[in-house]
Symmetry: C2
Subunit: 204 residues, 2 copies
């Protein structure tokens, strides 16, 4: 497939959000102009973004909300089911486990690991927190597609190395650390420090 810019993919996600909103309100058809207005971009941008993947609209009329929702879900790979392992049973992990957006997008958390003996063995949203040392065995028992790293910064790289060695190719990283991984592994990092500093810079 042609290489698509990250910024384009993020906008597609936004469009999907707005389309779901329109669908909920019973709107059947939407123009690139209307979608752009809702998302703070331009109609040309919307059309260009969509055109990378096909022609979904009708000239003179616009896009069918229902159809476009389906297309975008397909493009973004939201049709399928992903099994997720969470590594780190701390505060952020706890907030994430209850985040409904995971399940809504087909991401199911099936393992939780930690190194803290005080946490190991505890029940967490129907799952037992396991020792990180049992990761290999647990992955064998129930393989996963994605690892979510929610450890302190110091531990993050070691955890990443470990899950990569166990065959994981997708990581969502919340630790404030820059992870180094092989080329074929996809990492998305959510780094609050970067956001704070970008905000701080904007206030200069």
């Amino acid at each position: 497939m042609r290489k698509i810019a990250e910024s384009t993919v993020r906008r597609l996600s936004l469009y999907l959000r707005f389309l779901e909103e329109f669908e909920h309100r019973g709107i059947e058809t939407v123009s690139s102009e209307a979608l752009a207005a809702r998302g703070g971009t331009t109609s040309a941008q919307v059309r260009k973004d969509l055109s990378f993947f096909g022609s979904f609209g009708k000239r003179g009329l616009g896009y069918s909300v229902l159809e476009l929702v389906g297309k975008l879900r397909g493009i973004l790979g939201l049709g399928r089911h992903y099994r997720v392992a969470m590594i780190g049973a701390g505060k952020i992990g706890s907030a994430l486990v209850q985040y409904r957006g995971f399940k809504a997008r087909g991401f199911e958390i099936v393992h939780i690991f930690d190194t803290d003996p005080a946490k190991i063995g505890r029940e967490w949203n129907g799952l037992t927190v396991r020792d990180v040392k049992q990761m290999a065995a647990e992955f064998e028992r129930l393989p996963v597609d994605i690892a979510v790293i929610v450890t302190p910064a110091e531990a993050a790289q070691a955890v990443a190395d470990r899950v990569v060695k166990l065959g994981i190719t997708a990581i969502l990283n919340f630790a404030p650390a820059q992870l180094t991984v092989p080329e074929d592994v996809v990492v998305k990092t959510v780094n609050l420090a970067l956001e704070l500093e970008a905000l701080s810079y904007a206030l200069t």
Copy 2:
């Protein structure tokens, strides 16, 4: 000042992180090459990024770690102190309040608001959760620079409108909603759904 790309600012934040790491390890001098290697970019990129703000290196030698840390902190506006109001006393808010990175960057949470009567009046990390209705009065008593929105998506826009009306010009938004604000207000949105979908797309 010349307009600087968001991507540049984010890289500067990363460089700062690495430099602090080097400083901690007692390294006194660093080359653009070394900094690039640590951050997964190129030496030319590092030099170009820095060159927007001045000439901080010595030819043939590199950059003084200590000096560059200071310069970057200055550039990013991390020298000063910001007062922060958190709106929404839920799970994510709770995790954020304990996030040490806030204080480390001079962001001090001085107010917490919610609409839920069960939460109003409770103590939270030394602060009393107040009713959102008291926001105007509380801001008058103790003004703030930044609002952090941690409400459900449905409430986020209304809250944004409210804080903007009270004179806030910087918002950090964790609600999965696209906020519409006047031009002079800076918004940074951390949207987990977008990250998930970008990850999902990458796995297609």
